[in-house]
């Protein structure tokens, strides 16, 4: 209950209330700002991210459009070669230019266009080296490949487009572009150079984050985390609900007390003391030998089992389930038994549907716990293809130098948690309150 009651609407209490709102709103800014900053950093390019003072809203990246008159009777291959060459030289000369658009005209009609983003400069360069080292034929082949990859469009019959007005003012960038073009030795003749802005490359950091960990795309780690979290939760709910149901309903009160203590007593064991022995147990799972007799065992390290199986032992889940099952009306369960239902049927057809809220709360909290976990997956999984996203994020921030790429990957790591909150707010709030009664 609020301390200030509705009946007390005097000016003093109103003053207190206003103060409270002001503090809360200021506090809310401190909550949101770091995430805005993360988002804003992830949208910056490699130059903007180091600019001082930093800007919260990064400017739209620069784009240069180069227009050419195609030589009479030019083939598609020739135009591709010119486009790649011109784009590459300008992108290489000016890393702040995030996109170069080339357009070729014949008799006033557009015949070929190509959009080359800055992050593809390396590929353009690879095509360029092919041409420099050998014949122009190879160069054309290389250019044709990249033109296709970047979605270069060729219009054999020409295409009418709105004529762009000639640029009003001279800019330094246009001068640079003109200089690059004169040195590039192109078959086509420059027609016009336009400098503009584009939205297209602001997600470049995300594109880079996707492949920042080498041959393994970040979606792989994302998927691993998802699989591990879902299976861990399923296993935990299964194990703990069955046990709690038995403790609550199937054994005598005396046994119930002993078993409950057995399960929830584990909540007192700190995770740190279990880390090393659990690692060794999973290395030779379950035992190397039992009372001196060799026992069949397998190495579960570097498998998802190492992450999923231990998640089943949650004293907190048993405790919550048991409390919930205790509240179920016995008459309902007995009615099913009269009808000849087996215990498993009573559990799955009656107890479980009635306990949806507790399943939902534990399921969502368990999912988030597994998704957010770092230490245990980091210790038991060395194989890169099995890393979870949190391990991937750790390795990425440890190795990659570009903060904007790291920030982009953080956004990817935070996104599922935010989505979970949006969709399952009620269960998450309940779950948080329940951790309070864990003590």
């Amino acid at each position: 209950m609020p301390i200030i009651q509705l009946s007390e609407k005097d000016s003093k209490n109103r003053g207190i209330l206003i103060t409270i709102y002001v503090i809360l709103i200021l506090g809310a800014v401190t909550q949101i700002f770091p995430f805005l900053w993360m988002l804003s950093s992830s949208l910056k390019d490699n130059i903007e991210i180091y600019k001082l003072p930093p800007r919260l809203i990064p400017p739209r990246p620069t784009m240069v459009e180069l227009q050419f008159n195609a030589p009479e009777g030019a083939t598609k291959k020739q135009l591709e070669a010119d486009a790649v060459l011109a784009s590459f030289y300008l992108l290489q000369k000016r890393p702040d230019v995030k996109e170069v658009r080339t357009k070729f005209f014949a008799h006033g009609k557009l015949v070929y266009e190509l959009d080359a983003p800055q992050f593809q400069a390396k590929k353009l360069w690879e095509a360029a080296t092919v041409s420099k080292a050998t014949e122009r034929q190879d160069w054309i082949a290389g250019a044709g490949g990249i033109s296709k990859e970047l979605g270069g469009r060729f219009y054999p019959d020409g295409k009418n487009i709105e004529p762009t007005p000639p640029p009003a003012k001279q800019s330094e960038l246009r001068a640079v572009a003109a200089e690059v073009l004169t040195k590039a030795d192109l078959a086509s003749t420059p027609r016009s150079i336009l400098v503009g802005r584009t939205f297209a490359p602001i997600f470049d950091s995300y594109r880079k984050a996707y492949t920042a960990l080498g041959e393994m795309p970040i979606s792989r780690f994302f998927g691993n985390s998802l699989v591990v979290a879902i299976l861990s939760v399923a296993w935990q709910l299964l194990v703990c609900s069955l046990s709690a149901y038995a403790v609550s309903r199937l054994v005598s009160p005396a046994w119930g007390r002993v078993l409950l203590l057995f399960f929830i007593g584990t909540m007192m064991i700190p995770g740190m003391v279990l880390t090393i022995p659990n690692y060794l147990i999973l290395k030779e799972f379950p035992f190397r030998s039992l009372f001196g007799i060799p026992f069949p065992h397998a190495n579960l390290l570097n498998t998802f089992w190492a992450l999923i199986l231990p998640a089943g032992a949650s004293g907190f889940a048993v405790y919550l389930f048991k409390g919930f099952f205790d509240q179920l009306p016995m008459e309902l369960l007995d009615a099913a038994r009269i009808d000849g239902a087996t215990e498993m049927n009573v559990f799955t057809k009656i107890a479980m549907p009635l306990s949806k809220p507790v399943f939902a709360v534990l399921g969502i909290m368990g999912f988030m716990g597994s998704w957010n976990d770092f230490m245990w997956p980091f210790i038991v999984i060395q194989k890169k293809e099995l890393w979870t996203l949190m391990v991937g994020l750790y390795q990425l921030q440890n190795s990659a130098g570009e903060p904007n790429v790291v920030m982009a990957s953080l956004v990817l790591g935070a996104l599922p948690v935010i989505l979970m909150f949006v969709f399952f707010q009620q269960y998450i709030l309940e779950g948080i309150v329940m951790t309070g009664i864990k003590g």
Binding site: V273, I281, F374
Partner: protein, 294 residues
């Protein structure tokens, strides 16, 4: 009391056994067996190739007590835990404030809870960027205010505080637990106080706070138990540096066990940590018992 939960039916014993089997096996295998194994391992110079290795009796324990690094990591841990207590009242204040909110409850709750349920890794890496001495936000703000830039995580004097500071900015999770306790306070208590002429501060002091004192005790102990096992923050922020100033107990255990494969020694320190936390847990149980509401 308990009887009414048990039906008149004579349920087959095998059903109970089947229901309990996966749970008992899982808990035995991943909780009790490793606990026992940890204690046994602490008496060995454990060898991974040829377990359990050489029996050394209390050797690991006497070694730990003489190890200057053990001394240092416990001091570091205690200091960091102490610093984290500076933020102990932030969630309580937030809860008291949130309790007064009448309009826009959902908005405030959402804004305050999302940073608190973020993956720790996301928060840590984000703050690591804030702490960057050259391009980080914190130094940029300091320079904007005309102050000298600081080394933050690179400064042995500041690094410990840097580990706990982000936590002060994410009080939402704990605040929500307090808020639940606050909402349980009956309206009639406040109304009675109003009749007696109590103002806001009197009600806060004599009605609200006394009702959440037991919860504060529980949260304090739970927070301490968690903080003493702190691993991710020092591991990712500093790796224990600079000059070992953020090397904490869990980090030292991890390094001994998984970098140098001294599993026996690592486990010994983990068992010592366990004993220490057991004392805290015992305190927690006592707090829990004195809670009038539970």
């Amino acid at each position: 009391m308990q009887e009414k939960h048990y039906s008149a039916f004579n349920k087959p014993k095998w059903a109970a056994v089947l229901f309990l089997l996966p749970g008992i096996l899982t808990f035995l295998l991943f909780r009790y067996y490793p606990m026992v194994k940890a204690i046994i391992m602490s008496f060995y110079d454990y060898s991974i190739m040829n377990p359990p290795g050489k029996f050394v009796g209390l050797g690991n324990y006497t070694r730990a007590l003489q190890d200057p690094m053990v001394n240092l990591v416990w001091k570091n841990t205690a200091t960091i835990v102490g610093l984290s207590l500076l933020g102990f009242f932030i969630p309580i204040i937030l809860a008291v404030l949130l309790d007064e909110v009448r309009g826009g409850k959902v908005v405030f709750r959402t804004i305050y809870i999302i940073p608190a349920i973020m993956p720790a890794m996301v928060t840590i890496v984000l703050w690591k960027w804030f702490y960057n001495p050259d391009y980080g936000l914190l130094n940029i703000i300091r320079q904007g205010l005309g102050a000298q830039p600081l080394g933050w995580l690179n400064d042995p004097k500041l690094a410990k505080l840097c580990l706990v500071l982000p936590g002060f900015f994410a009080p939402g999770y704990t605040a929500l637990i307090y808020l639940a306790a606050l909402q349980g306070i009956p309206k009639s208590m406040y109304e009675a106080a109003i009749i007696d002429g109590a103002g806001y501060w009197q009600k806060l002091r004599y009605i609200t706070l006394p009702r959440i004192v037991p919860m504060m005790g529980i949260m304090l102990i739970m927070g301490l138990i968690g903080a003493f096992q702190m691993f991710e923050a020092p591991f990712v922020y500093t790796g224990g540096g600079p000059l070992n100033s953020t090397k904490v107990v869990a980090l030292y255990i991890y390094e001994e066990a998984f970098n140098f494969y001294r599993m026996g020694y690592g486990t010994t320190m983990a068992v010592m940590l366990f004993v220490f936390l057991l004392v805290l847990t015992w305190l927690q149980v006592r707090f829990f018992k004195t809670d009038p509401d539970s």
